[in-house]
Structures are given as C-alpha cells and as structure tokens.
Amino acid sequence: MKTTVHTIAFISALLFSTSTLAQESKVSIKVPGFVRPLVEKLITEYNKENPDVEFEFLSAKAQDTENSLNITLSDDNAIAFARYAVLPVTTKDGEAYQLLSGSRLNNKKLQRLFFEKDEFDDEYKESKVEKAVHIYSGNSQQSTSRTYAASFDREPSEYKGKRISGDDSYLISAISRDPLGITINTLPNIYDLQSRQLRQELAIVPLDGSKQDRQIINEGSLDEIISLLERHEVNEIPVLKIGLSYRHGTGSASKFARWILTNGTTFVHEYGLLELPQKELAAQIKRATTEDSPLACL
C-alpha cells in the first residue's frame, strides 16, 4: 500500500515537473505584422540550436505570460535590436500620386499632409492637394502610424482621414481601393522581400532631399534604401527602433532575446529592417546581460 502511494506521488510529481518545464520552455511572442517574418526566421534558426524551446504567437490583446517576449515599437525601456523605416506611400496609378508628383515634401509639408490638429492654426492654409487626398492611418497599438506621429511630436488622434484597425498591411489594402489614398508604412510592407523591389502597385510619395537620395528612394532596391538609411539620416524618413520587452532573468524568453541580440541581427536586412549601429548594439547586449543577471533580477 505504502509503495503504491509513493509510486502515485512520484508519477504525479514527475508529470507536474514535466508540465512545468514544458511551460517554462514555451515562449509566447507578440509581434507587429511587419516584423513577424523576421521573428519566424529567428525562431527557425534558434530552434536549430535549441530544439526544446517552443514558441507561440499571441494576439495583441492576449495576456502576457511569465515567458512572454513582446516585440515592441513604442516601449523606450525595451532592449533594442533592430530598426525600421517609415515612408509615405500611395498607389502608383492613383490620383493622389499624380497630384503629388510635382512636389517634394519636406517634414513641414508632410506634417500638413498627414495631420489636422492645427485646423484653427492661423498660420495654416490647407492646399488643394492637401484637401483632395485621403489619409489612412493605423489605429492599433502596434501600428507604425503611432510612432510616425510621435516622430513629428504629434498624437495619433491628430491624423487626418480614416483610421484602420488591424495590422498595418491593411493600410496598403485600404489605399489600393482609394485612388486618392495615402498612407505610411514600413519597408517590409511596401517592398517585395523576394524581388527586393517596391511593390508594383505602390509609389513612394515624392520626398525632399538631395538628388542622390531621392533617386535611391524613388528607384532604388530595398537593399539600396536600407543602405542609404543606415549610412545617413534622411529627414523625411523617420528611422525608429524595434525593441524586445520581456521579464529579465534566466527564462527561455531571456535566453532567446540575448540570442537575437548576438546572432539574430544578421537577418534583419533580409526582412526589410535596419541594423542598429554597432556601438548601440553592443550597449544593448551589455544591458540585456546585466539586467538578466540574477543579481539584477532580485
């Protein structure tokens, strides 16, 4: 009888610990749509070295778990590992592109094109083009429309036009139905990651800048534009950071995060994203190592 009891207890303990271990090695990931292909690639590569670790993708409104890893665009405290660029786009055959084709939009003009808060601004006189076009912006928490607005020191509520709820890729769908539609989006969403060329139906809204820069932006490949943006700052194209937010420690999420920082950044160009400058990457690696250390987690 005693042996039976011990056996049951042992099996229960084993089942429980197995289940717990399984739980601990499962990393839950929330990721904006345009970063997801990169993250899937990173998972594939990571699993080659760590086949025991499981991954699941959660929707944005799902509760975080102990082993959550959030790829975030807006948390300044997150560990940055890559960057992304946001560009204004429209459809190549659309009326909006024709209206804008003769212009070169600098930051001030971009603000006037996209935002409307200053409707009472005595200095504000809306041009015919600004009145005619339809602005589409993303409404979700992870939309790059939010960070784009922030780069102008604006609130998302100040966008003109329509909001689109859901992934930013829907913004492209929205303007493809509206010849006057203009939106903003990231390189992975507006370039074909295979051909490395701008998606056929799209055109980048003409931007101000040097002739060389403009040529690359308007005609260059994805790699050329990435190279340009990594080389120097283009005023009209905000480049922002992508961060990793997770509970620091020795859990699977932490280990995966540190792996991304040390091994994963080599894949970012392939997926339309920009690398962090080497100095900054090194600082982020150091920070992650420090914050993951047991002492820091106390």
């Binding site: 929707s59 944005a60 409104k61 948390d75 300044d76 405290n77 808060k117 200053d118 409707e119 009472f120 601004d121 005595d122 200095e123 504000y124 589409y136 409404n139 979700s140 928490q141 609130e155 998302p156 509520s157 100040e158 329509k162 909001r163 689109i164 709820s165 859901g166 992934d167 829907y170 769908s173 929205a174």
Partner: protein, 1025 residues
C-alpha cells in the same frame, strides 16, 4: 421529412448567422487627457445596426453582423467624429477623439440629469472651473464676473464669511433671494441661518459653502431661466447653481498634491487726520472746560506730531496656506476619489483666522452590468476666530472696526511699559467706566471668540438601468451642520465692559435630509428623440439651537468654559424648527430631426412653510429651441457652426420665507413684579391662514451662436420676470393688536438683457489665446405694493412702486450756506434748534415749508441695484506657460458710506477723515465740507453726499503658471504645475470706502475685502501606481 429539412435549414442559417457575427471591443478616450468618454456611439457605417455606446469608462463591445472589413463611425458630442476601418477584431481598439471646438455639442448638467447643450431650451451657463477655482477658499467667491447676469458680493471680507449671489436681480422683499445650490444632487439653500446659533456677537454670518473644497469640484452650471430651473419648483425662483464633484476614473491611480502659499493685505487705507490735525480740530470744537479737562493746548497739539495710526494697528499682512491631496482611480467595475485638504487663512485684521480641514470620499461600483451604487461624502471642520460686534450701548459705532478707525490719534495704543492703554482722556459715554476706557485694538486680542462648524454632507445612490433606455435612480442624503459659537469678553473689553465680563455660548444642530427617486426613459426612433423624467422628492429640514450667556465674572480665567462663573444670568434661549417639502417632478424633452427641441416641466411642491389653504404649489414651464443652422437654407454656410434660438416661459415659486410665517406665534417673556421674576407668554405675531407662495413667472428668449469652427461664440438673452404675491408686512388695524401682518400683496419685475462672447483670438501648435466677456443689464422695479399702494420705509431705504428694491431714501444735499446768503431763505433742519449759519450744510426742502424733515423732504437717492454687471478675461497658453486674467465689475449701483459720514462729522472724542482739513471756514468757502461744529445734526440722517456710486472694475485674478510635466522612467509623466497669482490686485472705483463690493445697503466699517497680492501653488500628478 419537410419539417426535418426546414429545421435543418434554420439550424444551418442560425449557425451561419452566428458565425458571421463579429465582436469588436475597445475604448474611446479623450485624445488630450486620456480619459474614457462615456456615451460615445459606435455604429458600422451604412448599416442599420444600432451599434454600441461606451460605458462610464469609455469601454464598448460592439456585436455586428456586418462582415469585416467594416467602417466604424465613432461620434461623441464636442469631439471630432472618426471613421475607423476595422479589418480584424482580434485587437481591442483604442480610439482617441480630439476635441472639436463646438460649444453647443458639450454636455451640461441640468436638474436631475444631463443634456446636450445643443438641445437645451433654457439658459444654462457653464463655468470654467479649471481657471477659476484655483485661488479661492470657497467656490461661490469665484463666480463673480464669470457668468452674465450673476452678481456676487460679500457680506464681509472676513475669512469664511458668506457671499450674496443674485441671478438676474432680486425677486423678493421679505423672502430669500439667494439661488438654490444643488451639490451632487443635494438641494442646499445657502443661508447663514443654518450656522447662526443666536450668539451673534461671536461672529458674523458664516458661509456653509466654505465646507466644499473648490479643488474637489468638477463642474459648475448656472441655471438662469425658468425652463432650466422649473424642475426645482418652489426652490428655483432665484436661479440654481449645480455643483458636481469629481469622481474617480478607470485607469491607473492618480495622486495629486497641491500646496499654495498666499499673502494678502488690505486693498486701500482711508485718509485720516493725524494727531496734530485732529488736535487743531479739537481746539476749534472743544469748550474751554473740555480743554482744561483734557489738558490740550496749542503747544501740546504741536508736540503730538502724527500720533498713533490706529488704522495701521488694525491691519496686518496675512498669510494663507493650503494643502490638498487627492487619490483617484478605478477599475472596470468601480471608481473612487479620496481627497483631503487643509487651509489655514489669516484675516487681514489682526487675530482673525480661519482654518478648514476637509475630507471627501466619492465611491461607486457597478454591482451588475446595469446597476451602479455609490456614495459621495464630504466632511469639513472649520474654525474661525475674530468678532467685531458691540454689546449693549454702541455709541453710534457699528462695531470694533469702526471704533478702531475713529480712535483719537492723540491716544497711544500701548503704555510705555508695553501694556495696553486703557486711559483715553477723549473717550465718552459708555466707553468710560470711572477712569478706565476701552481700547479697541486690545479688544481684537482680548475678546475670545470662536466659531466652529462641523459639516457633513453624505449621499448614497443607486442607478438601475431596468431595460435599455429606462433608468431608475434613487438617492438619499443628509447634510448635518453642527455649529458652536463661543465668546468671552473680560471687563476690559467692550463686550464685558459694563457688566464685569460677559460670556456667551451658542450651539446649533441643523440638518437637512433628502430622499428622491426618479425614473428616466430615453427613446430614439427615426427622427424622434424623447426623454421622459418622473420622480418624487422629499426634504426634511430641522434645526435645534441653544444660546446661554452670563456676566459679572469674579474670575475670568476660565472664560466661556465656565459660564457658571458669571454671577448674573443674562439669557438662555432654545429653539427648534422643522419644515418639510414634498415634491413630484416631471419633465419631457423631445427633439424632432435633432433640431427642434421642446422641454416641458411640471413640479408640484407641498411645503409645511405655508398654511393649509395654500400648502401645495404647481410650477409648470415650457421651453423650445431651434437649431436654425441645421436647416437646408443655412447648411451650406460653412462658417456658421451653430445658430440656436431659444424661448421659455414658466412659473417658479419661493418658499424661503422662514418657518411658521403663516402661524400665530406665542413667545415667552419675563417680568419682575415685587422683585420676583415672573414668566409670561404673549402673542408675538399675527398669523395669516391665506399666506401663499410668492410666484415668479418668467419669459426668456435667447440666441446661441458659434462661428468659424467654434472660434467665436455669442450668447444673447432677453428676459422678463414678474414676481407676484410678494410677502409684505403691511399695516393693519391696530385693533388687532399688531401694527402689521405678513400678507401676499406686491409685485416686482425684473427685465434684462445678457450678452456673452467667447473667442479664440489665435491658435497655433504652441499658442492658444482665448478671451471671453459678458455684460448684463437688469431693471428691477416694484410694480405693486398691494391695494394701499403706500410707500414702505425701512430705515434708509424705501419700497415704492416704480422704484427698485434697495432704493435709498434721504435728504438731498444742496451745498454749503455761504457768507452773504439770505439765511432766512435757507431751510432749517428739523433736527437742529440752532439758527442756520454760513458754513452749514444745506438740504433740499422738498415741500418748501422752511424745515427739512424726515417725513416730507426725503427723496429717492439711487439704488443698490446695478445698471450693468460685466466680466471679461483672457487666457494665453504658450508651450508650457499660461497666463490668465479675469476682471469683473458693476456700474450704476449705490452704497451708503456711513463710515465716511461718521468720519466727516467733526468730533472732540474721535478721529475724522482728512477731508475735514477742507472744512468751511471764512477763508475757505469754496468747499462741500461744512464748518466744524460739535454734534453735527446730520450724523444719523441719510444724506445724498454719502450715497456713493459703488461702480467698480476689479482685476479679480491674474495668474502666470508653468506646467513642467517631467518625464520619468517608463515614459510616465509627473505633472508639476507652478504658478503665481494675485487676486483683487486693483480696483477702479469712485467709491471712497474700503470696498465697493458689499452685499448690504450700508457700509459702516465692514471687514474689507483683502487683496491677495501673491500666491503660488505647486501641484503634481503621479500616475505611476
């Protein structure tokens, strides 16, 4: 088989339908504040679905059968609408709406509910609480100049003193004229009687509204016309001020701490004679015997120099500290706000202080999805010291302030050894006991007075949405005010001077219980929008007070803590009063096409304050409004945002006539017979079984205009109010044993226009400059005084048909009798037996009988009613800086400056005004100041020289602030706002007294309104929790 197939088809259809349904969740927030917006609507565009409405925290759940992607139309009044294309419903939407500049779209609090301003049919003004309430201890003091047609005046500048507010003039002569306050649904009539214990010497009127911390207030609405106020029936005749306190909001816990430090001083000093100047006057007036008695000689006078500045010793630079801490927050199901505050305010007169400790708990919880319960409670403990009345013989002084100002500058306040000087050789009358006199500055410190008020306002409510659109709300509340007024004056003080000390303790418990239940039904179908409200309310008001006093203290050490130490029993009075008010209320709001609006209200009040013959009063009103700009013929006018025409008519009543006014009263009295104190009862008033409500019927027509996307807005109102059945004490046959009886007899009308404008002068990304102004004209007129049509003279004022309330009635000054004038043709004053001489004051002899007397020669000398009241202000925000100022003023109102009259009356005991230096002499005949003579005959007679214009323009508040908002780790903001401000910094007025902004008719040396010259506050908000 067929049946089975049909069942299968239905099942499949049902399943498909269920599958097609999407659930979109999210929150609608204010883009600027991040706070949830309650009542925002979300509808799939181009669908016939009803959509969803956000809850109290801005959350919504929308179930839709429209396939994704769909366009969601989000609307909220006062905000720019938004369209959102929803491609997937996985993520909860966070929709941030930016404010629109459309005033007519805002929601305002009205009686027993809220209403979109666009649909209002009445005249309702909202007050910008953010700017106005930062610098006041009591919110009612901030209302002046903020709303057209609302005038605020002070009963005193003493901290904690009550204010007097009139909305569109006064309606009543013997009834109350104060508006009704509705604080979180609790009806409060602001009467200082709720804190008056009978120990009036211990302090003037105390403001019950001072118990509410202004920083706890979320919004203030002023209901001016009958369409808005009729829902309050018998209590709405003087207008209604609705105050709503803050509540917690869903989200992180918000902690706010504020501290302010203020310094204040008297706004102006009176120009008085110095010792030498007064000495010269004394030598001119005093008899040789008097000069010999006091030892005053020309040489002595020359040695006096400037002497003592008693006025300077009266005032001080006063400091005010305020601390305020609040914690608020909420979750999906509950919201809370806890706040506490402490104020310590020095008065500008020495030894007058005010302190308040207050705490508030506002809590509500959604027990069920459709059932919310909550409590709102406010407790405050206030203490005030300082009293300025006089007991017994006053020697024609109005009080200690008056006495200090008029004290002879030749007399020092203190002796050489630092003790107070109680030997004033010039003192007279009852202020001299043997060789001892009173010292009014010593009185400020030695008269031990204290008024302590505990005020609890407790409300509990439940709101149940029985079915969508049908809400039952019930609320119970109690307001308990416990007041204690203590006073002790030793034998050196005026109060105890003649009685070897005097002690008095008054105590009062006042309570007001209120219970109300309302049922509201909202229904919108097609072009129709209907809201029906029905309800019942019950109020019970009770008060009990006790006042006891003794004198003749052999030992003064224990003061008022031992009244039994007094050898002489002065008085013991107790009183009890109770009144009830039962009311049924009903209101229908109907809108057609969202542009034609109608409001009909009916309230039935049964008040115990009226006789059984007239216990119930019915108060109906009807109002309509038309959003003209939404008509087709104006829709294309892009610069016109709103154009609304309003009109309303109705009747409200006034039950503020005191308790038992209809009944015959019997009072107890005592008399001595054979040296024995006996008790007697006597009939103290003649009842009137026919006493009924004063009724005010009013008509209002108004226009609301908003132009250029809300950048410019106008509000214009014209109104006519007629109050009938005025309660007047009319003369009756003496055979009835009384000289007068309270009867419903007269009528008063108020006709007026109001105009308010607000505009945005300039707005850019970093700059916002707005301005606002309002002006109101009101003509108040007594149109009837009953059948006898006789004038009713009350001291220095008169009630006369054709004149307004508060009309002064006195002699008209006609200059100074000049040398060479034919003295036989100058009318003699009835109060003087002396012959008229050059240098005497002349008055108009109206009936030409050669004698100027009170019965035949008094004329109307103006009124306390202003012709215009106005206010204007501006707000400038540049980046994180802000600058604000507010000005208020009135024009055309008069005030009797009795203090000036007293100071211009030459006297050998008391000081006078520097104006006396210009007195008539044979060498100085071109003056309006009469020659110096002892006991000037006109000192007690109202004389047109002293009915002064009390018009003024006052810089009520000016403020500069900076909003730091430093960012902390995790991007959280720490709100830190620092500002400096000044109140009443300057006043432009022809009035020669301390302060023209006084609520009474006579300024006889009132506590002046201080100028708060510097004030700084820092507050911060921490939402890290």
């Amino acid at each position: 088989m067929k049946k089975s197939l049909l069942t299968l088809l239905l099942a499949v259809a049902g399943t498909l339908s269920a599958l097609a349904q999407a659930t979109i969740t999210g929150t609608v927030l204010d883009a600027q504040t991040g706070e949830g917006l309650i009542g925002a609507t979300l509808v799939p565009k181009n669908s016939k679905e009803t959509g969803a409405v956000t809850d109290i925290d801005g959350n919504f759940t929308l179930k839709t059968e429209v396939p994704l992607p769909l366009t969601l139309l989000v609307r909220y009044i006062g905000y720019r609408s938004q369209e959102i294309d929803v491609y997937d419903a996985d993520e909860a939407l966070e929709i941030r709406l930016g404010a629109g500049g459309n005033n007519l779209n805002e929601v305002v609090v009205v009686g027993y509910g809220t209403q979109q301003r666009k649909k209002l049919t009445g005249s309702v003004a909202s007050i910008n609480t953010d700017d106005l309430l930062q610098n006041v201890v009591s919110f009612d003091k901030a209302l002046g100049g903020a709303v057209s047609g609302l005038t605020v005046s002070s009963t005193s500048g003493q901290p904690g003193a009550s204010t007097s507010i009139r909305i569109r003039g006064g309606n009543s002569i013997n009834g109350g004229n104060e508006p009704l306050y509705v604080i979180d649904g609790v009806l409060i009539y602001n009467s200082s009687s709720s804190t008056s214990t009978g120990n009036s010497l211990a302090g003037g009127s105390f403001n019950p509204l001072a118990s509410i911390n202004p920083q706890d207030i979320e919004s203030i609405e002023v209901l001016k016309d009958v369409s808005a106020s009729a829902i309050y029936g018998s209590r709405g005749s003087n207008g209604v001020i609705i105050v709503t306190t803050k509540r917690g909001k869903k989200g992180k816990v918000n902690v706010n701490y504020g501290y302010s430090l203020g310094v204040s001083s008297v706004s102006r000093r009176l120009d008085l004679l110095n010792a030498q100047e007064w000495g010269d006057l004394y030598l001119e007036l005093a008899t040789d015997a008097q000069k010999a008695a006091t030892g005053v000689t020309p040489d002595a006078v020359r040695s006096w120099g400037k002497g003592t500045d008693w006025q300077d010793a009266l005032f001080r630079t006063a400091v005010t500290h305020e601390h305020q801490l609040s914690v608020s927050g909420g979750s999906d199901k509950e919201r809370f706000l806890l706040s506490t505050n402490y104020t310590l305010q020095d008065g500008i007169i020495n030894n007058s202080d005010f302190s308040r400790f207050g705490a508030r708990i506002n809590y509500e919880r959604d027990i069920l999805k459709n059932l919310t319960v909550g409590v709102k409670s406010n407790y405050s403990k206030t203490t005030r010291t300082g009293a300025y009345g006089m007991r017994g013989m006053t020697g024609n002084f109005s009080g200690i302030i008056d006495k200090v100002i008029r004290q002879s500058p030749a007399v020092p306040i203190k002796n050489a050894d630092g003790s107070y000087n109680y030997a004033n050789p010039f003192e007279s009358g009852d202020f001299v006991r043997d060789d001892v006199t009173i010292n009014p500055i010593a009185d400020l410190y030695n008269l031990d007075t204290e008024t302590k008020v505990d005020n609890l306002l407790l409300t509990g409510f439940a709101s149940w949405e029985i079915i969508p659109g049908l809400t039952l709300r019930t609320q119970g509340s109690t307001n308990i005010i416990n007041t204690r007024q203590n006073l002790f004056g030793g034998e050196e003080t005026q109060a105890g001077f003649m009685t070897q000390g005097y002690g008095d303790i008054g105590s009062k418990r006042w309570e007001n219980d209120q219970f109300e239940t309302t049922l509201t039904w909202n229904k919108k179908w097609g072009i129709h929008d209907l809201e029906v409200l029905g309800g019942y309310t019950y109020q019970l008001e009770k008060s009990e007070d006790l006042d006891a006093a003794t004198s003749g203290y052999a030992n003064e050490n224990l003061g008022y803590h031992s009244l039994q130490s007094g050898t002489t029993f002065v008085e013991t009075n107790t009183d009890f009063a109770k009144s009830t008010l039962y009311s049924f209320i009903g209101r229908v709001n109907y809108s057609l096409f969202d542009r034609y609006h109608l409001t009909a209200t009916l309230r039935a009040d049964g008040s115990s304050r009226f006789s059984s013959n007239h216990k119930w009063g019915w108060f109906p009103s009807i109002g309509a409004s038309w959003n003209i700009n939404e008509e087709k013929f104006l829709k294309h006018v892009k610069w016109l945002d709103d154009l609304k025409l309003r009109a309303s008519y109705g009747t409200v009543g006034n039950q503020e006539i005191g308790n038992y006014a209809f009944a015959s009263d019997y009072a107890a009295s005592h008399y001595y017979f054979g040296g024995v104190r006996n008790l007697a009862f006597y009939r103290s008033s003649l009842g009137n079984d026919d006493l009924k409500w004063e009724s005010t019927s009013s008509f209002d027509v108004g226009l609301d205009v908003n132009l250029f996307k809300g950048r410019l807005g106008f509000v214009f109102d014209y109104y006519h109010k007629k109050t009938t059945d005025l309660l007047l004490n009319l003369p009756i046959q003496q055979t009835q044993g009384f000289g007068s009886q309270l009867q419903n007899a007269g009528n008063v009308t108020n006709d007026g226009v109001e105009f308010a404008v607000n505009g945005t002068i300039r707005q850019t990304k970093h700059l916002l400059w707005t301005a606002n102004a309002n002006i109101a004209h009101n003509k108040n007129e007594i149109t009837s005084l009953g059948e006898s049509h006789k004038d009713i003279i009350n001291g220095n004022t008169i009630l006369r048909e054709g004149e307004s309330l508060g009309t002064f009635y006195g002699w008209k000054f006609d200059g100074i009798v000049k040398a060479g004038d034919d003295l036989s043709k100058v009318a003699r004053l009835s109060t003087s037996q002396a012959n008229v001489q050059p240098g005497d004051a002349k008055f108009v002899d109206v009936n030409g009988d050669g004698v100027v007397d009170q019965d035949n020669d008094r004329v109307v000398l103006g009124s306390t009613q202003p012709k215009f009241t106005y206010g204007f202000g501006s707000q400038l925000r540049y980046k994180k800086w802000d600058f604000t100022f507010n000005v208020q003023g009135s024009y055309g109102n008069k005030l009797y400056n009795q203090l000036r009259q007293a100071l211009e009356t030459p006297n050998i005991s008391y000081n006078g005004s520097a104006a006396l230096l210009d007195r008539w002499t044979t060498d100085n005949q071109n003056t309006n100041i009469p020659r110096a003579i002892v006991s000037s005959v006109s000192s007690f007679i109202l004389d047109s020289r002293y009915v002064e214009s009390a018009s003024y323009l006052r810089l009520k508040n000016i403020q500069v602030g900076y909003d730091f908002q430093p960012r902390l780790k995790n991007k959280q903001k720490l709100g830190l706002y620092v500002y400096a401000s000044a109140q009443n910094l300057f006043t432009i007025t022809p009035y020669e007294g301390y302060d023209p902004e006084y609520s009474g008719t006579t300024d006889s040396g009132n506590y002046p309104t201080p100028v708060r010259s510097l004030s700084a506050r820092s507050s911060h908000t921490d939402n890290r929790l």
